[in-house]
Symmetry: C2
Subunit: 214 residues, 2 copies
């Protein structure tokens, strides 16, 4: 191990030190800029300053690299949700608090989609399922994946007596659908042109609808 293991472009040792991580980071940058299709193996190695074939010591193929980037993107999404949750004051009225936590989850989701559209689109390019296997690679600081954060918020709603227990099953998919759809329309669809304030307003109204409709 040398002291330069974290500086990707220039390298004074023959061995790289941590090429796996460096490729993952380069791939994530590519995804940030252009979504899943932009995660190009050769370009990642180019950015790291390494021969294309070197990537095959760390990833089976391009798909394996993309899957790793995808997990990283999901983890970043989880962090964005956690940041919003951190802004909700604990204690106080449990009903209001539970409601605020669900809204925070949705707000974080929408904010991430708008601030990091490339990563957001990449998060949904997984070859397997988003909610399957609570992989650490997809979790935020608290160890929960985006899907688990949403589930926890809905459980909180039930505990606070806001959401009738018999309505709980499948509620993830209803709320998720609404928020996910708005996110897609905002970044790729006809709502592309909305500015920050308009988008926030649309998010608020959508979350109102979800709250009333659940």
């Amino acid at each position: 191990m040398t002291s330069t293991e974290t500086s990707p472009p220039k390298r004074d040792t023959y061995r790289h030190g941590n090429l796996h991580r460096a490729l993952l980071e380069a791939g994530t940058e590519l995804a940030r800029g252009g979504g899943p299709d932009a995660v190009v193996l050769r370009e990642a190695t180019r950015r790291v300053g390494v021969a294309p074939s070197a990537a095959y010591r760390h990833f089976a193929d391009r798909r394996a690299l993309l899957d790793a980037v995808c997990s990283a993107a999901q983890a970043a999404l989880a962090v964005a949700m956690e940041e919003e949750l951190a802004g909700v004051q604990r204690g106080g009225d449990p009903v209001n608090s539970a409601r605020a936590r669900l809204r925070a989850v949705g707000t974080g989701y929408l904010r991430f989609a708008q601030e990091e559209p490339g990563l957001f689109r990449t998060a949904f390019s997984a070859s397997d399922n988003l909610q399957s296997a609570a992989s650490t690679a997809r979790a935020g600081q608290g160890g929960l994946t985006p899907f688990q954060l949403l589930s926890a918020a809905l459980d909180g709603l039930v505990e606070a007596g806001v959401l009738p227990r018999e309505r709980r099953p499948g509620a993830e998919f209803l709320s998720w659908s609404a928020v996910h759809g708005l996110a897609m329309l905002l970044i790729d669809g006809p709502l592309r042109g909305l500015d920050r304030a308009q988008a926030q307003d649309a998010g608020r109204r959508l979350l109102d609808m979800v709250e009333r409709g659940l």
Copy 2:
């Protein structure tokens, strides 16, 4: 004009007859199978039985072909929505009828997404906006685009007195978001595995939520 202008693969005349339409149809087949990325200019000419360069007599470049396919996909989506609308009986209670029409729009949207995921994804790969310019190319039999069909259904809800007039502005985007999100989760996301019946049930519950929440 020869009598063989609509048979793409075999051609006995030097001129093709209607290469523009043939390329559009071939491109649509490609989109049906693999979404927007599968709309490959060379492959479309190959299927039509024509040299790659021939396409440039009818489309400025690959993007122009993809845009045309995208419009066709939107028109197909409009037709799916119209089919559901046709099943709603006219007359009767105006309130129930207006509600049923909104549900029909949503149901058609979800059905199309599931039956034609490739075309559905292609419909949203437009370089410009979905609701802009009521292009005939994007409309169904009745001359309305998917967005216009949704707007009309919401207008009907206002006229029937179900939806308060002050809530009407922007209601397209709320309902659209919900349905679009579910569609995406069903075809690309974690709800991929759901069978026909489960998906229909999810759609029903989602439309319940939208109705309550709007």
